[in-house]
Symmetry: C2
Subunit: 427 residues, 2 copies
């Protein structure tokens, strides 16, 4: 394989003609495929469907709280659900507050509350001239959408294989009181599959924020979403590290069963210090009647304990692994040595991050669309949808079938080649 960058004008021209012909042929085939969404496939949903048989009209509806799960009561989650999440997240039960079906909603509400009511007695953010959030990139578009919607200024923090650039994080957090938070998906990051190193986690825990109401938003969405049961990434526990560092209130950790049981009908949780939890609960009393206890109990009785959840996750992994490997194999086989793209080989999570050469991501996604393959819009992995170098593409291999995925990958690599040739031709 000859790297594109080393090709002569003539070689590029001839390659372009050839790729263009292949592309037109693919377009004519009328494909319609989607590699844009971090959604489980139907076979994954089937794994959890027996959960719907667990709670029936003959079930018992009282548990450790001695409250009828069918009635009002229990604002912050049933004891049973709290215990399950505490075991899963390896933290004390008093650090857990159970929510509804969306951890995104917990995050949104925390920021909304900070805007209006402030955190821990500090000035509400809406009364400040400027509020800033740090955003490790590439990251999760819906995190960035939340902070953008509240008019919070977002600052890109580059990441390497160990996590965010901690020199930069410390520089901002420890000196600028307008910096109130940082978004993280610390394990199997969305989309790059990075696992924060021990040093990174410890440096997070040991931050000395200029703002007393600075909080680490630790969205541990994929903490148990391993692809290789024999090669599970380990990450330090943010709860323990923050307590050791004398910073017990500095973090909000989030998790959910969205990609464990049912996306849209799962259970989510906030993990934080009892002080933070108490503050949230004070507002929560006003905001809602509490969340669906029947669904909490449905989950608890189906999974039984953390071991039950982990066993269930191995079934997900068995479905997902071949899909990830199919994508990675195609990328390696078709793009290896061409030096027109780099990508990660994640051990978990839901995505593969692909980087084109500079200024090509939008074009690749556009070409894919022309050929009938929907990719996540280029730029989505950056705040304001602005990827300054236009290189970052998020591949979501979970939803399509193996067959569809193979086809979609063929289209994708062809579009990467075509866009790259175009780029070098115009240099």
């Amino acid at each position: 394989m000859k790297a594109y960058k080393d090709m002569s004008k003539e070689e590029l021209n001839s390659l372009h003609t050839e790729l263009k012909a292949q592309f037109e042929k693919l377009k004519a085939a009328g494909i319609s495929l989607d590699m844009s969404r971090g959604k489980p496939g139907t076979d994954q949903l089937e794994l959890s469907t027996p959960m719907l048989d667990v709670l029936t009209s003959t079930s018992t509806f009282k548990g450790e709280d001695n409250v009828d799960f069918r009635n009002y009561g229990i604002l912050d989650g049933t004891k049973e659900a709290k215990k399950l999440f505490a075991e899963l997240m390896e933290c004390p039960v008093d650090h857990v507050m159970i929510y509804g079906n969306s951890s995104l909603n917990i995050e949104y509400d925390l920021i909304s509350r900070a805007m209006i009511h402030g955190i821990a007695g500090n000035t509400p953010w809406c009364k400040l001239d400027k509020v800033k959030f740090l955003c490790p990139v590439p990251g999760y578009d819906r995190h960035f959408a939340i902070t953008e919607s509240f008019g919070i200024e977002m600052i890109n923090i580059p990441m390497d294989e160990n996590g965010p650039d901690m020199d930069m994080v410390e520089q901002y957090v420890n000196n600028d009181p307008a910096v109130k938070g940082i978004w993280n998906v610390p394990k199997y990051t969305n989309p790059a599959g990075i696992v924060y190193s021990d040093e990174v986690v410890r440096r997070f825990a040991n931050l000395k924020p200029a703002a007393p109401d600075f909080r680490i938003f630790w969205d541990n969405a994929y903490c148990i979403h391993h692809l290789y049961p024999d090669n599970k990434a380990q990450m330090l526990n943010i709860v323990d590290e923050c307590e050791k560092a004398g910073n017990p209130d500095i973090y909000y950790q989030f998790c959910s069963t969205s990609k464990v049981s049912f996306p849209g009908a799962g259970v989510s949780a906030l993990i934080s210090s009892p002080t933070n939890i108490a503050e949230v609960k004070k507002h929560f009393t006003i905001q809602t009647i509490g969340h669906d206890k029947l669904n909490q109990i449905r989950h608890v009785r189906f999974f039984k304990d953390a071991a039950g959840v982990h066993a269930h996750m191995e079934k997900h992994a068995a479905i997902l692994r071949p899909k990830f490997e199919a994508v990675l194999d195609t990328l390696e086989k078709e793009l290896g040595g061409l030096e027109i793209g780099t990508w990660n080989k994640p051990l978990g999570g839901y995505f593969i991050a692909f980087d084109t050469i500079e200024g090509c991501a939008k074009r690749v996604v556009g070409l894919c669309k022309e050929a009938g393959v929907v990719m996540t819009p280029a730029g989505s992995t950056y705040p304001y949808k602005n990827d300054p170098k236009d290189t970052s593409i998020r591949i979501a291999p979970t939803l399509p079938s193996a067959e569809e995925l193979k086809k979609a990958c063929e289209v994708f690599v062809l579009c990467v080649k075509l866009a790259s040739v175009e780029k070098y031709m115009n240099m």
Copy 2:
């Protein structure tokens, strides 16, 4: 029966001695009862429990939207759920947005959003010096708690048997741009059981607000919660009336199945103009992944249609009617003619409102507590928990069994008598 106000000092003294003795005897009996909570009883929960058998692992999980209900997707509710609520609330489907288990949460979020983002392009409320809400009294404590938590000034609006004093409402709304909203439970009000008259609804629809972002908060929580199937209160439809009046965007209507299926595991809905719904959805995209579609479908398949819901509500009524009547009978039998209290005879809803003579409500609730009967704290039915005349008590007869209710009412009437005698003795 001689009215207490007509009794001589001697008569009052002798009555006091007698009542005090009865009270001490009751206290010694060690009763522990609760008439404070608007919660369904266990027999009511049993009515809906077969709903848990409706969705099982062998069910079909696709419907009119052609989306797998177990997966992500459908932000604003399944078509099936929208249709059911549209039929129930007698409005077009495009006026319906389905939420989670708490209509209180819809209300909270709307106000939270208005604070930060503003309504329909107007200045966010948090940027204004003053925001005011009108609060028909007596009303629902959790409404008042929401506006209080956001620092919104609340203004009492007296109610009579037709609803709020509309002269006063018009005076405020049509002249003061700081008045941004009014709380209503328009049908079977909490706690007084009032049904807004046609004239009142029409005057609401025809308001000419000084503030373009003024909204009527129309919490139709008890719209189908009739006690007498042959004597259902009728109320004009706020949707129709506002459209007729050329004010299609002036209202947000709320409803839920909390007291139809399961409190805490029901489905709620926002009913408003397509313009308002579109604005809410714009924010909703950022806030959440959408609500639990499996639970929506569980409800739809159990109830089938509005007729199914109404038939179900008749079963609730059959359980609740004797409880309400037991309370009303005791009040009539024990307090009739004494002129120490007035109360309503509701045709629906969850409460009986009782008014003591001035300055006695707190004392009555305190005495009840001493004797082992928990009542809703006096003052709860007013903003800031401040009932200026200290007369309003909310009786919640739904949760206790018939036996418990009988006992609790005996305690209550005795405490009313005792507090009233004390009052007259000290005049």
